[in-house]
Symmetry: C3
Subunit: 435 residues, 3 copies
Amino acid sequence: MNAAAAGAGEYAELGRDAYALVEELYPICRSITGNGLRATLDVLQRRIPLSRIEIASGTQVFDWVIPPEWNIREAWIDDAGGRRVVDFRDHNLHVVNYSAPVRARLPLAGLRPHLHTLPAHPDWIPYRTSYYRESWGFCLSQRQLDALREGEYEVCIDSTLAPGSLTLAECVIPGAVSDEVLLYAHDCHPSLCNDNLSALAVATLLAQRRAQAPARHYTWRFVFAPATIGAIAWLHRNEARVGAIRHGLVLASLGDRGALTYKRSRRGNADIDRVGEHVIARAHAGSCEDFSPYGYDERQFCSPGFDLPVGRLTRTPNGRYAEYHSSADNLAFVTPAALADSLRACEQILALLDTNARYLNLAPKCEPRLGPRGLYDLAGGQAPGEFGHALLWVLNQSDGGQDLLAIAQKARLDYGLVARAAAALVNARLLRRLP
Amino acid sequence: MNAAAAGAGEYAELGRDAYALVEELYPICRSITGNGLRATLDVLQRRIPLSRIEIASGTQVFDWVIPPEWNIREAWIDDAGGRRVVDFRDHNLHVVNYSAPVRARLPLAGLRPHLHTLPAHPDWIPYRTSYYRESWGFCLSQRQLDALREGEYEVCIDSTLAPGSLTLAECVIPGAVSDEVLLYAHDCHPSLCNDNLSALAVATLLAQRRAQAPARHYTWRFVFAPATIGAIAWLHRNEARVGAIRHGLVLASLGDRGALTYKRSRRGNADIDRVGEHVIARAHAGSCEDFSPYGYDERQFCSPGFDLPVGRLTRTPNGRYAEYHSSADNLAFVTPAALADSLRACEQILALLDTNARYLNLAPKCEPRLGPRGLYDLAGGQAPGEFGHALLWVLNQSDGGQDLLAIAQKARLDYGLVARAAAALVNARLLRRLP
Amino acid sequence: MNAAAAGAGEYAELGRDAYALVEELYPICRSITGNGLRATLDVLQRRIPLSRIEIASGTQVFDWVIPPEWNIREAWIDDAGGRRVVDFRDHNLHVVNYSAPVRARLPLAGLRPHLHTLPAHPDWIPYRTSYYRESWGFCLSQRQLDALREGEYEVCIDSTLAPGSLTLAECVIPGAVSDEVLLYAHDCHPSLCNDNLSALAVATLLAQRRAQAPARHYTWRFVFAPATIGAIAWLHRNEARVGAIRHGLVLASLGDRGALTYKRSRRGNADIDRVGEHVIARAHAGSCEDFSPYGYDERQFCSPGFDLPVGRLTRTPNGRYAEYHSSADNLAFVTPAALADSLRACEQILALLDTNARYLNLAPKCEPRLGPRGLYDLAGGQAPGEFGHALLWVLNQSDGGQDLLAIAQKARLDYGLVARAAAALVNARLLRRLP
């Protein structure tokens, strides 16, 4: 059963399945390197084929260097009475991600510079990282901080920062042509559900369903990588072959209750931008916004040296909801329905990309006869119906210069109708798809 | 007396003359081939010089084949009592155009599939054709059909479908240059006044008046041809020389009481599109619409293999009035005033096309002195008048890249004023018209 | 102290200084040639270095010829009783500029064709010229005219029209590059304050201040020349080197109480047009208008054979205030505050032009690391501030195709912030300015 045909019931079930995957991934402590990241990929790999690449610490990738690998076993703060006041076992966010190992006794005043809170949300734990500047720290709720008395504290971060590697993972599902659609999701954030377990779940189900479907046009390449450094490392390794990417989409924050948001590529008028806008604004009552160089890894794909046709799909964008990068981005913040809707939007975008080609009218001088080809069967003197109009539009506009979506929009006809007309004309040998 | 100068009184008279021509053509039974079509051209030829081409049945023209020639003598239905219940002598529309010959006795049930009515308009006879699928039929009013009793009927269609030819006609009126303006009207519809005796009459008067006028810039080529197959056959014969067509206009449905409608060419921004919009929207309070591949023979001229700069002028477009393709499109449906207004609009468009060239300023460095050339005679310190402004605009903008209409629109000046300024500057050898 | 940093107090003082210069120039009787013009340049030369060129009468400059030089000593009308009813000593405007010498006795009827008034403003004297048609005349108020009785009058215009020369003046202030910004003001009008002593004063102060400032990017070339013939003569002499003009601004009518008006160059989208619009519409709540071939000497710079990127800055444009070209354009019509505001606008435009280049990101593949370069110092997980955003925008968009102003407008960031970000990135060797 193909995506477009899947009914509301099927998507409700897919939403519950995606949510279950989020639940499974939530407890794992991820970072941009390390075993939590690998454990995450293990979970995905039970559903889809993944190939992995390990890139050694110290490798130069453009202006950046792969950092030492970080792993953590435990982290806590005990008060003078031996009571454990902060414990990494309670929440992955309690430790500043990439904290260097430490074991020390400190007065509260000495500890304070290492403690991070969100005063405006006194029950939430913030998410903080320190990938590129060696330091250590704890994140805790403002209430926890307020409860700390003056006195000596013992702190322990049992982590390692040592030569190792950064892990990239890919899942490639071949299509009829080797030209690719790139689907990218960052996989480095610890226990944060919307950002970005939601997109990991949606991407995984997308790949799962596509692998079972009959081959379609484009090859799909899913990339799971740590934010920023992972995208940069992937681009560095794949620089010679990014020309195969015909369309791309960064997937992020796909589980919250907000409406879908399509963010255009740097080009602003790439095919993915027109398709994204068409699907998100029309079918999903979402919104579209122009590219800006702040956000997720579209920043790297759309840097001026690459300028790839890569847009971004989120629900509420990063930084525009209070729960962002805090412990409140939890299992209650994302819903099966939102995950299902995001999955459906992805499938609609991808289905449209698959058929939305430029075509060439093979009988371009005057109209060809449609009647003898079984395409047009009316008593003379009467007007054609919608399908007849779609046939005339596709024939008239297929000069190789504009694609079916542009034709549908100009003709003010449903895209699906226009795509069916094009298929019928290809079948009648009146039309040829251009590469 | 030239077109632009003709006053309201002259146009009223021209409208009556055009209406008389419609009246003369109305009784003839036309089709896409045959003697009715030739008789129609005979009428036109009494007013304007026509050259005719006969294209033999069976000739391949692009994807199409010239059909057998159709001629009809009589057609009727008699009831069991010998009463003639439908008779072609009463109205040309009573027989399905291109009906094969038939002589048979049938029960009403057997006859019904061959009978066509317009239930929503019970007094009107529909117009139906069957050019490319051999069949026969009658068209009648719903009231006539309702009056038929069960029983046997005798039907007779005394027609011939036999090898012959399709007739094309042209009238060429030379101008100063061999580049052409194409004016095209379909001439195949039987007793339907708006569609398209109106345009035949307007085109004929246009040619008549131009032939008597002093030579103007472009050569005008009028083509009278059957809809679809005629336009296709004409394009097939003239494929090598369509490059001479600088501007073109399909004329149709120019007699009804609705406002004028200019339909853009497929290019959308051809000179004819800008001129058509300027004249129709400004001087005639009409409307403009984008090209679509449904309508009249602009479909063939604007097929992607030709993509000619051919727009269309109608009053109410086909299919947007109830009387369309029915016996209600009769002599009462068209008016002398509407025909006169259409003629006047055509003449305004053609006059504007004639002068609307790209010009080159021959003294482009700084302003030339206008005073010594008698073009600008003001005491220093005072502002120039409208004509002075027009001179400055034409000089400043005539870099060969934009035509007078674009200059007039940018300057927000009347086109006629700008054209007079250009003529004065040409006269003063400060400006040269580009081909 | 540079222009941008100058505070309101400093500009108030500058406005008073500019006004004093207008007062000093007001009594001089200027024309397009002659000693009044030279005396005017002497006044400017006491403040800024001027080089002068004298072009001999009779010299052909494109379509024009330098006229004879005009000088005037006295001009009056006496009535029959010997009473002096009009005297050039009272007001320079009393004589038609470029009047040929005359000494005659005439009845009032014979005198009338030589008398010019403004009936709608009975107390004002009009400004009239007759440069290119030899004649003579007087301008007077309607009240003066009404008071004249029938009878004989004696008229005297003691002027000379003789071979001499037209005077052009330039002040060049070098910048880091030899590419130029042209600043042009006409200097031929007699006692008219807004048109154009205002612009002479603003341009002079602009040059004065720039000459004292540290060298900036472009070389500035100030041209002071008579209207029309002077601009044409200057372009004729400088035809081979106008390619050095990167941006230009005609300055005129900068002292009235109206808002600033930027008039676009003929190109419409030149850098000066975007910068002019940005500064005038944003910082000065002024208005912008498209090029038209009527106005001041932008007509010559923007003639199609030159089509230079030269816009125009005025307050109320010529012809849109009643006082225009009359004795009411006097010292009361212009204000120190308006002169100060105009000067400030010019300096803002010029400062923006100086930094508003196209830049090239030298690390265009993915984002470069900003942290190690001291440009970006945030705990991971937090959003960048405005300056951080400006850095990201400049890096992302600096592909050599768009300038900082375009980037600031796309990013909806303050231009100054974006320019500071670009400077920091140049300093960090991540960005290079393109010529």
